[in-house]
């Protein structure tokens, strides 16, 4: 303990007698860590935001009947034989899932699922007078769908509850309302490709922030949807399920695939385009923030290198009086670590303040406040990376110091 403390003692004396240099080195790390933390929180915030956008429209897991292509009647019996099949076609006659209630019950028994709902999606035309708009009506159980997609949080007019049990009601996207020039409690005519036309009362208007979905999507009761396709209550096109951990959705999907013959698709597959954008953005931000951290580490490297050059006589005398190369490394690495530690702490503080400021910047709808957030995980990783960078930056000059040959110094 005593032997250790003498190295640390020397390191701290060096630090305290050159406060200015220490401060400069610390500030370098502070800047690096602050920017690293800020950028990561920004990128994390964006990811959470964009994921939120995704989950407004898609569930973690989607189960539906996949289109099948017709197969030849005769299977080829050996490799040399080729069976030609003329004009292969999609052979799906009905998009319905057989025994959806049975499948739902099975799903609800899975511990990792939080919600599972059945849905009937119908391609429809919205009409008001002469204007007509193409879109998709989602037939849902309103309460279940709200629990899953949190629809009520982006309602801009009316109430989702008014749709509950109201077979003549509809909740439409803001874009549809604008284009058809309808308001709350106006009637619109909705017709399906099965020749069913209904007049429905607008009970609510929502705005998801995505023009595409606002201009085409609507919610109706599931039985209304079933009427649109001339089917009974057992007709269900899609089952949506939410899981405990959206990141593990692909694994859950694999497990669920064992339960059913229908296609089980995790949200990552459905939204691959958005995710690849996220990945590129995260990688870019990571690279930028990491390089700033590296620059900060170079600051520490420079200052310690200078210290070693200036203290070369001291190092020689320490070695002459019995300090080993390892002791010298410990002294200088301790100095680097202290600078790094102080710099990291200040960096976390500065980064935290920046995040707090940005959190209160109002971006306007549909984004709301700037999407950045505090995450203990980012604070931890920034701190650890900062320490790691200074450790690396400190070790190189420390090693150089440990290699100082005292004889060479004394002979000068």
């Amino acid at each position: 303990m005593r032997k250790k403390s003498v190295n640390i003692d020397i390191a701290f004396t060096h630090i305290f007698t050159r406060k200015k240099q220490t401060l400069v080195a610390c500030l370098g790390v502070t800047l690096g860590v602050a920017v690293y933390l800020f950028m990561n929180s920004l990128s994390g915030g964006f990811s959470v935001y964009s994921r939120g956008e995704i989950f407004k429209n898609s569930a973690h897991i989607k189960i539906y009947k996949e289109d099948k292509i017709s197969k030849p009647f005769i299977e080829s019996s050996n490799e040399n034989e080729l069976v030609a099949i003329v004009n292969p076609q999609i052979t799906t006659l009905s998009k319905t899932l057989v025994n959806p209630q049975g499948l739902l019950d099975k799903l609800k028994k899975q511990g990792f699922l939080t919600h599972a709902i059945a849905q009937v999606n119908v391609d429809v035309f919205y009409n008001n007078g002469k204007s007509q708009l193409k879109g998709t009506a989602n037939g849902v159980n309103v309460l279940e769908a709200d629990a899953m997609f949190n629809i009520s949080s982006y309602m801009v007019g009316g109430s989702l509850k008014d749709l509950q049990g109201n077979l003549g009601g509809i909740v439409i996207g803001k874009g549809i309302a604008e284009k058809l020039n309808v308001r709350l409690n106006d009637n619109i005519t909705v017709s399906s490709s099965y020749g069913i036309t209904k007049t429905l009362k607008v009970k609510g208007i929502f705005s998801t922030g995505s023009a595409l979905s606002d201009q085409s999507k609507s919610y109706i009761n599931i039985s209304t949807a079933q009427q649109f396709v001339k089917e009974g209550p057992s007709y269900v096109t899609t089952i949506y399920a939410n899981t405990l951990n959206p990141d593990a959705a692909p694994d859950y999907a694999k497990a669920l695939q064992q339960l059913t013959e229908y296609k089980v698709e995790p949200w990552q597959v459905t939204n691959a385009d958005v995710l690849s954008g996220d990945l590129v953005r995260n990688t870019m931000m990571g690279a930028i923030s990491l390089s700033i951290l590296v620059v900060a580490a170079f600051g520490i490297y420079n200052i310690l290198n200078m210290t070693v050059m200036q203290k070369i006589n001291d190092i020689a005398i320490l070695k002459a009086t019995g300090f080993s190369g390892g002791d010298v490394i410990k002294i200088f690495v301790t100095e680097a670590l202290v600078m790094g530690f102080l710099g990291c702490l200040m960096g976390l503080e500065v980064g935290g303040i920046l995040i707090a400021i940005m959190q209160n910047v109002w971006m306007g709808p549909p984004v709301g406040y700037f999407p950045i957030y505090f995450s203990p995980q980012f604070f931890m990783s920034s701190f650890l990376l900062g320490i790691l960078a200074t450790l690396g930056a400190g070790y190189i000059p420390a090693r150089k110091a440990s290699k100082v040959d005292p004889v060479e110094i004394f002979r000068k």
């Binding site: 060096h14 005398i317 190369g325």
Partner: protein
């Protein structure tokens, strides 16, 4: 060769007088080359012994290899031929960490320029080698350091930064530092080279006292003939060879 060795011993016996004859440091055929700018033999077959409680000086013209020899003896320079023994233990071939520990425990150093650490107080400078040794607690080491400084008449200066002291005082602090672990051997490279005659006398008296009263061995490289003359024994080097084991006549 044999005859020469005999001659050397008898000569030493005659002069040593009251000195205790335990060998503290012994070299066997030490040789060393410098490779820059051209290969050049600085030390050639140096064999001698240093005894316990002896105040030994190494003299010679500049370039004679006396400083080089001292650094070989100091264990800091390991690139030499031949063998070095300290307290009958073979030092040649040991690892650098072992050598560092050995220097810490058994060898004290005093240089022409004091080489004190400027950030520390005099007391702390003296304490550092003992703290590194770690044999005693911080308080004990502090007490010992005070004691050494008192012995060298520097007790009032103990807590001052080293830069506030005069050259002679600084050199005495570095002597206190070299003595703190009570090493067997104290090696000095031109210890009085930078001092006026008054301070030289003080340093000399301390060396005498350390060697004769405390039985520690002093090996000092010097070009100050008066200083060498007053020491117990003087070894003279010329062109990397020992030319005299007990030089008497100084010009």
């Amino acid at each position: 060769m044999n005859q020469f060795e005999n001659l050397k011993t008898t000569e030493q016996e005659k002069t040593a007088g009251s000195i205790n004859r335990d060998v503290v440091l012994r070299t066997k055929g030490i040789g060393k080359y410098f490779h820059e700018p051209v290969k050049f033999k600085v030390l050639d077959n140096i064999s001698f012994e240093a005894y316990k409680g002896e105040f030994l000086t190494l003299v010679g013209k500049s370039g004679s290899g006396k400083s080089t020899l001292l650094y070989c003896l100091s264990t800091m320079d390991t690139t030499y031929e031949g063998e070095l023994f300290i307290e009958n233990e073979k030092i040649t071939g040991k690892k650098t960490d072992e050598l560092a520990a050995l220097r810490n425990k058994s060898i004290g150093f005093i240089f022409q320029f004091h080489y004190l650490l400027p950030e520390f107080s005099c007391l702390k400078n003296v304490m550092l080698p003992a703290l590194k040794l770690g044999k005693h607690s911080y308080q004990e080491v502090e007490e010992q350091a005070y004691h050494k400084l008192e012995m060298l008449g520097l007790k009032d200066q103990a807590l001052k930064p080293t830069s506030k002291l005069s050259g002679g005082q600084q050199q005495r602090v570095s002597i206190a530092r070299s003595l703190i672990n009570n090493p067997q051997i104290i090696m000095c490279d031109e210890p009085t080279g930078n001092l006026d005659s008054k301070n030289t006398q003080i340093v000399f008296d301390i060396f005498k006292q350390v060697a004769h009263d405390h039985g520690q061995t002093i090996i000092a490289v010097t070009h100050d003939n008066d200083f060498a003359k007053a020491s117990d024994r003087t070894i003279e080097l010329a062109d990397g060879k020992i030319t005299n084991y007990d030089k008497k006549n100084f010009d």
